[in-house]
Subunit: 277 residues, 2 copies
């Protein structure tokens, strides 16, 4: 496992870094970003995962959210993966909601995607191993958050690994991918037409299980993708049936942008830190 | 005067907007951004000007600094001009440090620049008039800040209009443009080879005057453009001779990026608000 640091910026009292490495799981070169707090007191440091939305790379959250102030304040590391495999040899689609920039945080089984589109295994295994080597004094405690497609990713990865992640939060997540245009298009391509195979990647199905981590969701009311792509009805109904700890907040007047995310990141970090002990 | 709102995002409790308009001064279409705080208490609102650096537009500070949190906290409007005239018919240069994205906040007198490159008059007159119509309950109080070339711009505009601006601050500013590569190249092109004509656009000359506003400067020690482009020696020597209220801070380990700006924006806003009453 060989990784290379491409960028290092002092940011608040910590460091914002960008790395590249060859991913065995994805069979391509990948980049990711990570923030390491100053840890002046030498404490154990937890790790929060941020998963970005369609078309994003690791740069969007790094550059547009202002999260570093909060990560330094709360003394937590934050890791930001890219949103899909990358490279000339990697399958793609002309549309911005399929292929590169649109990995949907699942493991594809259909051609031409199955060779590279294994973002779930990449994040939960390969990048997890890398992260554990980069966070000094890592406490071993983790939580996960994301935006839009990355909100879907945070919920799916968090619920499929309920013992591992202490909390899950999402901004304007795709909550019922099997029933909305973005999700149906991606799942058809990556997973095939058998809708039963979609269930393990659908937050509205996974929420039926018991013992999942506490969940916080914030959704802007002026989001141009709401409710078409981001409808919460099924997810919340199923969460209620299985008595899950889900907090779903509507944010009046906010849209789908990073201006919205930046406005509520304080709340989300506070939620995560409460559960990260 | 006709301006058009292109974007409007709720951001913290205020609004982040982007406008376009035809500039009579610059003879081209221009865009700018402005943040308006919520002003729930109906108070008088001051206005802070932000001037960006080489290659930037109004988007860099809007999207990368996280300033909206502070503007909303302190209840101040912030206006962010572009860094040069724009458009197919506007003179340009292949280099990134001359022409478009590199207006240097002065009024050019040399061809081919003199037709459009009048950023000083654009900001201090035309955009000033527009701003006064956009800020509800405007107190009339203003201050100015900027980064790199925009730090030069903030110092020059602030000192040339000492009665108007209550405070000036800059991140990694070009302090002696007449003596560093970026400034010498731009001044030669825009102003001609007579170095006497450069003095009125050089912060190290203007600081010799009396009665200028209080100044705060923060400079990262790991800035790759420091000290070559950003040397402070002459500026500080002249400030001391004329007994100016200049605070110059070195920030250990920080570079020239928006990660650096975001880290110290809290200090700069506090400085401005102290002087904006």
């Amino acid at each position: 496992m060989s990784i290379k640091r491409m960028e290092q910026h002092r940011s608040f009292d910590g460091e914002q870094c960008k790395y590249s490495h060859y991913s065995e799981v994805l069979q391509c070169d990948m980049t990711f970003s990570i923030y390491l707090p100053s840890n002046k007191e030498g404490k154990k440091i937890p790790l929060i995962w941020w998963l970005s939305g369609l078309t994003c790379t690791d740069d969007n959250f790094s550059q547009k959210s202002g999260f570093q102030r909060l990560a330094d304040k709360h003394q937590t590391a934050v890791i930001i993966p890219d949103t899909s495999p990358r490279g000339e040899h990697v399958a793609d689609d002309d549309a911005w909601d399929l292929g590169k920039g649109a990995g949907f945080y699942l493991d594809a089984v259909q051609e031409p995607w199955a060779n590279n589109y294994k973002m779930y295994t990449y994040i939960t295994e390969e990048l997890t191993d890398i992260a554990s080597t980069l966070v000094p004094n890592f406490s071993g405690e983790e939580s996960i958050m994301g935006h839009s497609m990355g909100g879907h990713g945070a919920l799916v990865i968090g619920m499929k690994n309920a013992a591992r992640f202490k909390a899950i939060s999402a901004f304007s997540p795709i909550l019922s991918p099997s029933d909305v245009p973005w999700g149906m298009k991606a799942f058809s391509a990556y997973l095939g037409e058998d809708r039963d195979a979609w269930k393990e990647w659908d937050a509205s199905e996974l929420i039926k299980e018991t013992g999942i981590p506490p969940i916080l969701i914030t959704q802007g009311t002026q989001d141009s993708f709401y409710p078409e792509q981001l409808d919460e009805t099924t997810f919340l109904a199923n969460a209620q049936k299985s008595h899950q700890a889900v907090t779903y907040k509507k944010a009046d007047g906010y849209d789908h942008s990073y201006f919205f995310i930046a406005s509520f990141l304080d709340d989300h970090f506070a939620f995560h830190m409460k559960h990260l002990g």
